[in-house]
């Protein structure tokens, strides 16, 4: 075995296992171009979102100051929503496309455990939604039926509402199911297998 390893180690240290200077420069330029492209894409996306938020803010300001048809004392909920949207927008812009400086982890298993915890957290949230959404739908159905009984909604209104709710919840439920079983679960399994490797054969 030692003979073979010595041969492999020589090949490892050989010229064929080194990035050639010219190719290296080319790769560095490619990486820098990718950094610039991601930065441009990020600025474009943020520009579009900022424009939409700005438009929404102008409409709200015109409603309060110009037309006077928005009463901030009674409709502060939508203004709070706008403020939250701006705050999140500011945080995202400040972090930039690359999420700010990402220091390397103290140890690699620690990083894997943190990643697994994130993935499991996302899976847990989807499971909670899986229980909460049917309950919410039942309550919603009950509320709409009662509104129909007291004459505040017509049969047509109820049908339209039911269709909209079915499409909306069906779509988001499908997306969450696919995300759970096709992305999160395989990734959690992969990370657990990886972490088990740290425990196997220790000693």
């Amino acid at each position: 075995m030692s003979m073979d390893m010595a041969r492999l180690e020589r090949a490892w240290a050989g010229a064929a296992n080194r990035a050639e200077d010219a190719a290296g420069l080319y790769l560095i330029d490619s990486a820098m171009a990718e950094v610039a492209r991601r930065g441009r894409d990020f600025r474009l996306r943020m520009g579009l979102i900022g424009t939409a938020l700005g438009g929404w803010s102008l409409v709200a300001a015109y409603g309060i100051v110009g037309r006077g048809n928005v009463d901030p004392a009674r409709e502060w909920g939508s203004l709070l929503l706008l403020a939250i949207a701006w705050a999140v927008y500011a945080i995202v812009v400040r972090r930039g496309w690359d999420g700010g400086a990402t220091p390397p982890p103290a140890s690699l298993p620690e990083s894997l455990r943190a990643l697994l915890s994130q993935v499991e957290g996302a899976m847990g949230r989807i499971r909670v939604m899986g229980v909460a959404v049917p309950l919410f739908l039942m309550a919603l159905g009950l509320a709409v039926t009662q509104l129909g009984d007291v004459g505040k909604m017509t049969g047509g209104n109820i049908r339209d509402f039911a269709l909209l709710a079915m499409v909306g919840f069906g779509l988001s439920g499908s997306i969450m199911t696919v995300r759970y079983f096709r992305m999160l679960k395989p990734e959690a399994d992969r990370l657990r297998r990886l972490l088990r490797q740290y425990e196997d054969g220790v000693g």
């Binding site: 075995m1 073979d4 390893m5 041969r7 492999l8 180690e9 090949a11 490892w12 050989g14 010229a15 064929a16 296992n17 080194r18 990035a19 050639e20 010219a22 190719a23 290296g24 420069l25 080319y26 790769l27 560095i28 490619s30 990486a31 820098m32 990718e34 950094v35 610039a36 492209r37 930065g39 690359d98 999420g99 700010g100 400086a101 990402t102 220091p103 390397p104 982890p105 140890s107 690699l108 298993p109 620690e110 990083s111 894997l112 990643l115 990734e187 992969r190 990370l191 990886l194 490797q197 740290y198 054969g201 220790v202 000693g203």
Partner: protein, 172 residues
Amino acid sequence: MDAGREAMFRQWMREHLTLLHRIARGFASPADQPDLLQELMLAVWRALPAFRGDSQPVTFIYRVAHNRALTWQGSQGGRARRDADAAAEAMRRSALSADPDEVRMLDRLYAAIRQLPTLDRSILLLSLDGVPYRDIGQMHDLSESNVGVRLTRAKARLTGIISQIEAQEEER
């Protein structure tokens, strides 16, 4: 783009691109290597502002790159795939000027490394690059003796896999 950050990144890459190249070959199939190489470079770019100079840049780069390689989920396809084609071409050009026997030996070596469990792959790559057991242990939160045991086992397995690959090549 921050000029100082870019200058430092370019310098690091000029000095240490080979190690990223080796990690990409050790963790990804030949078709996915350019994608992973680009991801490793971008991971170093992202991490660079967090470098405080309390370790050697090479240690910092190893830590960032092995972390990214361990958590990498495979090719993203689409745009990343097309962007990586240029990098693939550059990687192929790297190998053109080398001794063909040496290139074949390395191909077998990397193919064997990719068949090892992920953790052994990382430890072996670091060891082949001459990283001391102590640093490998710190990176992977393992004792030096544990690193030694794992390396012995990984090397034995590696030579076995290479023998199998060579036997299969002779049969063809």
